[in-house]
């Protein structure tokens, strides 16, 4: 499980020589000091998360009244907090599970929709010849510059009241409050500029002969897209879909704006942000809730790290 970012960022090309000499040079520079410093930083970086995990596993009394590190002298662990947070109880009625399911119900479609729409758009830009394709590509690309915050207020109004210029209704009042639809649509909109850009780069490299041969055989662009382009693009789509899934799962701003805090649609991040304020003293429950929220991205991260890193640099310009 190694982290590689070669695909992500352009790097000077490696030299033609074999790796043996630079490796030897590097070995000669290797020192126990370097190793020691790295180990210290790694421990420092891991301790906070470890503290969260330990706190979430301690019974309510000790978790609130003593530091988590006392677990080493007084080992007492329990799953009670998780039972209460998941099942609901006196403090947290209803529990965290409705929000947990909301997060999935928001993030899965919100990862798939923009990817499909962006793939279509990228295909047209790369393979259907028309005037202005390049300008359109750059226009879409440049939209990455717009921060989420610029779009929130007008978009919220559009979802709630529709949008019309004078007497002409452009977006009708669809009364979508309390459904996932505004969240899916908003996340799709915000993901498009980056997704189109990345997928276009990928599409442009597909073999020209295959597509031209299909066109000569009389296949329509729709057939080509469905039968050739989509299957060939699966790896590129997958690595971006993972990134988009994590982005949506971890998002708070779009969630708070378009879902409010109701158990019907609000995701787990919005729920956590709310209970931190209201149940601040219930450390054992908050930590258990937080761990449930971060375990999904952590599993995705460790299982698919390679893909995740690939979408990363390009992706961090997003939003």
């Amino acid at each position: 499980m190694s982290v590689e970012a070669h695909e992500v960022i352009p790097m000077p090309a490696p030299s033609g020589k074999g790796p043996s000499i630079p490796q030897a040079v590097r070995r000669s520079l290797s020192s126990p000091w370097a190793t020691a410093v790295v180990i210290v930083i790694t421990i420092l970086w891991t301790i906070p998360t470890f503290g969260l995990l330990v706190t979430s596993l301690r019974p309510s009394g000790p978790a609130v009244n003593s530091g988590w590190w006392t677990v080493f002298t007084n080992p007492e662990l329990t799953l009670e907090n998780y039972v209460e947070v998941l099942g609901g109880g006196d403090v947290i009625s209803g529990g965290i599970l409705p929000y947990f399911f909301n997060s999935f119900a928001i993030a899965l479609p919100a990862a798939i929709f923009p990817l499909v729409i962006a793939t279509m758009c990228a295909y047209a830009l790369a393979w259907i010849p028309f005037r202005g394709a390049t300008i359109l590509f750059f226009a879409i690309f440049a939209l990455q510059i717009v921060p989420l915050q610029m779009a929130l207020l007008p978009l919220l109004q559009m979802f709630n009241l529709g949008w019309s210029i004078g007497p002409i209704t452009i977006v009708p009042d669809l009364n979508l409050g309390g459904t996932y639809i505004p969240l899916w649509v908003a996340h799709t909109m915000f993901a498009l500029p980056l997704a189109v850009f990345l997928l276009h780069n990928f599409m442009a490299q597909l073999p020209r002969d295959v597509i031209e041969a299909a066109l000569v055989d009389g296949a329509s662009h729709f057939t080509i897209f469905w039968r050739i382009i989509l299957p060939l693009s699966v790896p590129a789509i997958a690595s971006f879909a993972i990134f988009q899934f994590l982005w949506v799962w971890n998002d708070l701003l779009v969630a708070l704006t378009f879902a409010g805090g109701t158990p019907d649609v609000a995701p787990i991040t919005a729920y956590l942000a709310n209970i931190v304020g209201s149940y601040g003293a219930k450390t054992h429950l908050i930590t258990a809730g937080a761990f449930i929220a971060i375990i999904v991205p952590l599993i995705v991260f460790f299982a698919l790290q390679r893909f995740f890193v690939r979408g990363l640099l390009a992706g961090s310009v997003k939003g």
Partner: protein
């Protein structure tokens, strides 16, 4: 109770699956119908069908709202009365807002700087290690955690108790062990700002490390070898060879973290909600727009963010494109 909750949750996944199914069904129908069109119309029709959805969503979701937000920023709280640039005047001249602007400036300088420097040091050290994948993964891990989750994790580290009592927060305990009486960290102005920045640094260091590490590994071996044969070691090798070779990557990493820092509001919202002198533009924007319902001021703050991001993103895009072109 847990089982009941799970059973109640499953229909939600059904809703999501139904949404996905409907989406693909519409797509299939459109493709099937339009795919039958032949002859001169086939190319323009295909173009519209492929570009249409993205174009409409981008227009409605980003282009139109951007203009609307700029327009709204010139109006009062209810959005009814035109007040010119008064909202911007309010941002620039109110004392509390000046604090917000100063805090934001500190954030976008300090968080990227520390993340990148620590990331660079780690990347250099890792390059000299045999087993680098475990520390790399662990330091990179916070990148997968949401800002909300990270804030809860660090809230625990910064937790305050009366020094006479048993401590819950790790930071207070460490300080006590060193024989110093811990303050209430989150209330400690102006240092609380830096404590919040630590969370961002904790998250972004892994990003800087991974990207810079890849850049260092891509430095041609003969360059390092030649420099070493010429007697360059340690600091000289680093400052004369390594840094110039990864300069572009270094700059892209800094600007990328700057952009992210400028836009995040989650950390401040969860940790202090902008109280105790820790407010930043992104969270003030949210508070004005969605808590105070002052559309004008909220929009003006969003425009300020936009103006802040423009030079950084443009610079980044130009750098990335230039590098791709060279390749």
């Amino acid at each position: 109770m847990i089982w009941e909750n799970i059973l109640e949750g499953i229909p939600k996944l059904g809703t999501a699956a139904a949404g996905i199914a409907v989406f693909f069904a519409i797509l299939l129908v459109v493709f099937f119908v339009l795919g039958r069109i032949r002859g001169r119309l086939s190319n323009p029709v295909a173009m519209l069908a492929f570009l249409g959805p993205a174009a409409i969503l981008l227009m409605l979701g980003l282009v139109v709202p951007t203009f609307q937000t700029v327009y709204k920023s010139l109006f009062n709280a209810s959005g009814k009365k035109f007040i010119g640039l008064q909202n911007y005047g309010w941002i620039l001249t109110t004392e509390s807002n000046q604090q917000v602007l100063i805090n934001t400036a500190l954030w976008i300088v300090i968080a990227p700087l520390f993340s990148t420097v620590i990331g660079l040091v780690l990347a250099l050290l890792l390059d000299r290690m045999r087993r680098e994948s475990i520390p790399k993964s662990l330091i990179f891990m916070p990148m997968a955690i949401s800002f909300v989750g990270a804030s809860i994790i660090w809230g625990l580290v910064y937790a305050y108790r009366d020094p006479a009592q048993e401590q819950v927060g790790l930071l207070s305990q460490v300080v006590l062990w060193l024989g110093i009486e811990p303050p209430n960290w989150i209330l400690l102005q102006p240092w609380n700002n830096f404590l919040l920045m630590v969370i961002m640094i904790w998250i972004q260091t892994g990003f800087a490390m991974v990207v810079l590490s890849a850049a260092i590994k891509a430095i041609p071996g003969d360059v390092v070898e030649a420099a070493t044969l010429d007697g360059a070691t340690g600091w000289r090798l680093f400052s004369r060879v390594t840094v110039p070779m990864i300069r572009t990557t270094l700059i892209v990493v800094v600007t990328t973290i700057m952009i992210a820092t400028l836009k995040i509001f989650d950390i401040v919202r969860v940790m202090t909600n902008g109280n105790f002198g820790t407010q930043i533009v992104a969270n003030e924007m949210y508070s004005q727009a969605f808590v105070q319902f002052d559309v004008g001021r909220g929009s003006a703050l969003a425009v300020i963010l936009f103006l802040g991001v423009i030079p950084l993103v443009s610079y980044n895009i130009i750098q990335l494109r230039r590098e791709r072109a060279i390749r």
